[in-house]
C-alpha cells in the first residue's frame, strides 16, 4: 500500500491557478527513510530522501498522501545538496483537493538532486514491555526488555531506519486530528470537517485491541543515547514495517540483577492488604545502569523448581526509570504476609475547659496499637509499615520488635523491618494525639 506519491512536474510559471497535474517528469522512489517514533504521543517523525530531477527554472513537486495519517502542516522539503542553487519558494494546498500539497521550487541547476522530505504521521506506535524472571531464592532476577513497534499509519515503510524516543513531549494538537483536518490549516472561520477519517481510525483502534499480530524476535542491536530530555533508541540496520504489522525487538536482556523483595502496609494507600514490591536499582551494581528504562508493562515470573518451571507472580506498569534511580514494582496484594494493627488500649485525659462557659477546649487522646507482622513464607522478607496521623500534634512511643523507625514528614512515620521465614514479630506503638487548645 504505497499511498504517498510524489509527482514531480514541470509547469511554466505563469499558467498559475489552473493546477494541471501533467507534465510528469519523474516519480522518484524513496532512497532512504528514517522513522522516529514517540511513545508518549501518537507521533512519528518521518524523514525520507528522494532524488528529484530538476529542470532549470521553476519546478513543481506534487506530494499526495490520501488514506494515510500525515499531518500536512508538518510537510517540509529541502535540498540536501546545492542548497544555494535550489530554493523552495512555497508549499501550497490546492483548492478542493484533499491529501495533496505542491511545492514550488526554483532551481539554478538541472539534473538529479537529492532532497529530503519530512513530515509527521500518526498511527505508528511503540511500546516497551518486560518479562522478569525471579530466581528460586528470589535474590536475583533476569530481565528481558522488548520494544514493540506497530504501524497503523496507512503507509508501508520499507527498509526504514527505526528510532524510538522515550520522553514526555508537549504537543498542542493531536497529529491524528491534523491529519484529518481539511483544509490543512483550517479555515479562517473554523468549520468542523466531516469525520470520515475518524470512523476509520476507530476501526483501527478496535482492531488494535485484538491484534497481537505477527510477532517475530530478531536479535538486533539497539543503540541508545540521551538527547535533551529524551532518550533515543536507534535500531540497528533497517526494518520494513508494512501497514497493520507489529514488530517485536529485543532491547536488552540482563541476568543476575540483585533484587529486594519487600512488602508495604499503609492503610491510607492500600487498605488492609499487604502489597508485594520488588525493588532494584537501575545502576551498575545491579548489572544495569547503561540507559534509562522506558515505562511499560512488566510481567514477573518466578522459577519454582530445578527444571526451571515458571510461576506467574504479577504485573505492573513501570514508571520511566532514569539511570541510578530505584525501581519499585508493585506486584499486588499478597496473602502470605500479614500486618495486623490492633487497638489494644484507648484513653483520653488532660482535659482543658475554657473559662467562661466551661466547655471542653482541649484534650489528649492516647491510642496504643499492637502491630503483628507475620511472614508465612519460606524466605526472609523486608516489610515497610507506614502510619499516618490526622495532624502534626502527636508524640509516639514504640516498644518491642519494631525494626527501624523514621519520621517521614509532619504526620507520617515508617517502620522498616526484616522478618525471617515463618516468623511473627510484634511491637506496640503508643500515640498521643493532642486536640483543641492542647495543641497550643
Amino acid at each position: 500500500m504505497k499511498k504517498i506519491i510524489s509527482v514531480f512536474c514541470l509547469i511554466f510559471l505563469f499558467s498559475a491557478i489552473g493546477y494541471c497535474k501533467i507534465d510528469l517528469t519523474t516519480l522518484p522512489e524513496r532512497d532512504r527513510v528514517q522513522l522516529t517514533i514517540y511513545n508518549s504521543a501518537d507521533l512519528t517523525f518521518v524523514r525520507e530522501s528522494r532524488t528529484l530531477t530538476m529542470k532549470k527554472g521553476d519546478n513543481r513537486l506534487q506530494f499526495s498522501w490520501a488514506n494515510t495519517l500525515i499531518d500536512p502542516t508538518s510537510l517540509e522539503l529541502f535540498p540536501l545538496k546545492d542548497a544555494d542553487k535550489i530554493t523552495v519558494t512555497d508549499l501550497f494546498f490546492p483548492p478542493r483537493i484533499t491529501g495533496l500539497g505542491v511545492w514550488n521550487i526554483n532551481s539554478h541547476i538541472s539534473g538529479k538532486s537529492p532532497c529530503e522530505i519530512n513530515y509527521f504521521t500518526s498511527g505508528i506506535s511503540w511500546q516497551a514491555y518486560y518479562l522478569a524472571t525471579l530466581s528460586q531464592d528470589e535474590k536475583t532476577m533476569k530481565l528481558d526488555g522488548y520494544v514493540k513497534v506497530t504501524n497503523r499509519s496507512g503507509e508501508d515503510y520499507e527498509n526504514a531506519q527505526v528510532r524510538l524516543i522515550v520522553g514526555k513531549i508537549h504537543l498542542l494538537d493531536e497529529i491524528a486530528m491534523l491529519a484529518r483536518r481539511y483544509p490543512p490549516y483550517g479555515r479562517p472561520i473554523e468549520v468542523i470537517p466531516p469525520d470520515e477519517q475518524g470512523r476509520r481510525e476507530q476501526l483501527f483502534r478496535a482492531k488494535a485491541a485484538v491484534a497481537g499480530a505477527a510477532d517475530r524476535v530478531v536479535v538486533k542491536q539497539i543503540e541508545k543515547e540521551g538527547l535533551s530530555e529524551y532518550f533515543l533508541y536507534t535500531i540497528e540496520g533497517t526494518e520494513t514495517i508494512p501497514n497493520n504489522w507489529t514488530k517485536r525487538l529485543l532491547s536488552f536482556s540482563q541476568d543476575k540483577i540483585p533484587v529486594v523483595n519487600f512488602y508495604k502496609y499503609e492503610e491510607e494507600r492500600f487498605g488492609k492488604s499487604v502489597i508485594r514490591f520488588l525493588s532494584f536499582k537501575n545502576d551498575k551494581a545491579h548489572n544495569l545502569g547503561k540507559e534509562p528504562i522506558p515505562d511499560g508493562l512488566i510481567k514477573v515470573f518466578k522459577i519454582v523448581d530445578k527444571d526451571e518451571h515458571l510461576s506467574y507472580i504479577g504485573q505492573d506498569n513501570t514508571k520511566y526509570i532514569p539511570v541510578d534511580e530505584d525501581v519499585e514494582l508493585n506486584l499486588g496484594a499478597v496473602l502470605d504476609i500479614k500486618v495486623e494493627p490492633k487497638l489494644i488500649d484507648y484513653k483520653t485525659y488532660n482535659y482543658n475547659f475554657n473559662a467562661p462557659n466551661r466547655n471542653i477546649s482541649g484534650w489528649d487522646e492516647e491510642k496504643t496499637y499492637r502491630i503483628t507482622v507475620s511472614n508465612y513464607r519460606n524466605l526472609p522478607v523486608k516489610i515497610e509499615i507506614t502510619r499516618n496521623f490526622p495532624h502534626q500534634y502527636w508524640t509516639i512511643e514504640n516498644k518491642g520488635d519494631f525494626g527501624e523507625y523514621r519520621q517521614i514528614d509532619i504526620d507520617t512515620v515508617r517502620y522498616t523491618m526484616e522478618v525471617p521465614p515463618n516468623t511473627t514479630k510484634q511491637f506496640t506503638c503508643k500515640v498521643v494525639l493532642r486536640w483543641g487548645d492542647r495543641q497550643h
Binding site: 512555497d90 483548492p95 508537549h170 479562517p188 535533551s228 530530555e229 509532619i410
Partner: protein, 374 residues
C-alpha cells in the same frame, strides 16, 4: 472564480434620474494591476488593488461588485492616483440587495485614470508558524518563521503582493480555498536558555505516591532583541515546533508550543516537554502554632505558625541542569532561615534558582513563620 468586478460605464449626465441603473453600457472591465494583501492585522485582512479606468469626459459610473465574496462594504475606499486634483468622486451608492456599489466619478476630460480600491476582506487570513532547530548542547536555535495564507474569501488573486509588517514580501498567486505556506523569516544561532521549573503549587510533592512519573516542565526561552539577531519588530504569535540536531546528521522532534506575541526586548518561552530525570520530593517537616492569642472565651483568635519545608532534588542526568523551584507561602510571613537564596516573585511566591550538577543531589530547606493567621 473572479468575483470582484469593476465595471466602468457611461451613465449619461442625468445624475439622479436612475435609481435602477442599467449596467449595460460597458466601457471597460479593467483588470487588476497591482494587488496588495496586507496581513499585519491578525483579525482583518486589507486588500488594496490598483486598476486603470478609462474615464470619459463628464460623469462616469463605476460599478464595483463582489457577489459571493465577503467584503466589509463599509471599508471600501477609492483613491484617485493619476489626476487626484481633477478627477472627483461625486457619490457612492449601494444598489439594494446586491453586493455592489456604484461610484459616480467626474472627470474634466477623457483620462486613463489609475485608481486604488481598498477594502477589508473576510475569510482570508494568515497564521504564523515557527520552526526551531536546537544544537546538540541546547544553547541556540536556528529559527524559521512561516506565513501561512488561508484564502477562503471566494476570490482568486493572481500575482498579489503578500506582506506582513516584517520579513520577506511575496508576490504570489492564490486561488480561492487555497492555503499557501511561505518561509518569511530565518535567523541563525538565536541564543536560548533552557530551564526546568518545579512549581510546588501545581506539581505533586511526593512522586512515589504518583502513578507514573512526575515530569518537570522544560522550557526554552528566547529574547526578541538584537543579541538574538531579532529585535526589529514584535514577533507574531503562532505555533512553534522545536527540533534538535541529534549529532548524526538528523534531527529529533522535541515538542511544540505556542509563541505568544512578543514585543521587542521581551522574551517568549516554549514549553517543549517534561523531564523525568529530575526527581523533586517536597515535604513539610514542621508546622506548629506559636504566639497564640485567645479571646475571653479562650478561643484562639490570632496566631503565628512555625513551619519548615524540605525539598530534595535529585538529578539523574549526566549533565547539569538549571532548575527553578516555585514555592508558595500564603498570607503574611517572615523567613527565618533558608539553605538557598530565593527571589521574591510576589508577596506569596518564592523562586529558588539552582544549578544542579550532573548526577547531583541537593536539599533545600526553608524555615518560616506565617504571621497573624486568623
Amino acid at each position: 472564480m473572479k468575483r470582484i468586478l469593476v465595471l466602468a460605464a457611461i451613465s449619461g449626465i442625468i445624475l439622479f434620474s436612475n435609481t435602477s441603473h442599467s449596467r449595460t453600457k460597458l466601457v471597460a472591465l479593467p483588470e487588476r494591476a497591482d494587488t496588495v494583501i496586507r496581513l499585519d492585522n491578525p483579525h482583518f485582512t486589507l486588500v488594496e488593488e490598483e486598476r486603470v479606468l478609462t474615464l470619459q469626459k463628464g460623469t462616469n459610473q463605476v460599478d464595483f461588485s463582489w457577489a459571493g465574496v465577503s467584503i466589509d462594504s463599509d471599508s471600501i475606499c477609492i483613491k484617485i492616483l493619476t489626476h487626484p486634483k481633477e478627477v472627483n468622486i461625486i457619490s457612492v451608492s449601494y444598489p439594494p440587495g446586491e453586493n455592489a456599489l456604484v461610484w459616480q466619478i467626474y472627470s474634466p476630460q477623457a483620462y486613463e485614470e489609475k485608481i486604488r480600491i481598498s477594502y477589508l476582506l473576510r475569510s482570508i487570513d494568515r497564521l504564523i508558524t515557527y520552526k526551531a532547530v536546537a544544537d546538540k548542547n541546547e544553547t541556540n536555535v536556528n529559527l524559521q518563521s512561516f506565513l501561512v495564507l488561508r484564502n477562503f474569501s471566494g476570490e482568486d488573486f493572481s500575482r498579489a503582493k503578500i506582506l506582513l509588517d516584517y520579513g520577506e514580501i511575496f508576490e504570489k498567486s492564490v486561488a480561492h480555498e487555497e492555503t499557501k505556506q511561505m518561509l518569511f523569516l530565518t535567523r541563525q544561532n538565536v541564543p536560548i536558555e533552557k530551564q526546568l521549573t518545579f512549581d510546588a503549587r501545581v506539581l505533586p510533592w511526593e512522586p512515589e505516591k504518583v502513578q507514573g512519573n512526575v515530569g518537570i516542565p522544560v522550557t526554552y526561552t528566547i529574547v526578541n532583541d538584537k543579541k538574538s539577531g531579532l529585535g526589529d519588530c514584535g514577533l507574531w504569535g503562532g505555533k512553534a515546533r522545536i527540533f534538535q540536531d541529534d549529532g548524526h546528521g538528523s534531527t529529533i522532534f522535541l515538542g511544540e508550543d505556542n509563541v505568544a506575541f512578543t514585543p521587542v526586548r521581551e522574551k517568549f518561552s516554549l514549553y517543549i516537554g517534561d523531564s523525568r530525570d529530575i526527581v523533586v520530593t517536597q515535604r513539610k517537616i514542621k508546622d506548629v502554632m506559636v504566639n497564640i492569642r485567645k479571646n475571653a472565651d479562650n478561643a484562639v483568635i490570632l496566631y503565628d505558625t512555625d513551619e519548615i519545608m524540605k525539598i530534595e532534588i535529585e538529578n539523574f542526568k549526566d549533565s547539569p541542569v538549571n532548575l527553578t523551584l516555585i514555592e508558595n507561602i500564603p498570607g503574611q510571613w517572615d523567613m527565618e532561615e533558608t539553605s538557598h537564596q530565593y527571589e521574591k516573585e510576589d508577596a506569596n511566591t518564592l523562586k529558588f534558582k539552582m544549578d544542579l550538577p550532573a548526577k547531583g543531589k541537593q536539599t533545600i530547606t526553608y524555615h518560616y513563620h506565617r504571621r497573624n493567621v486568623r
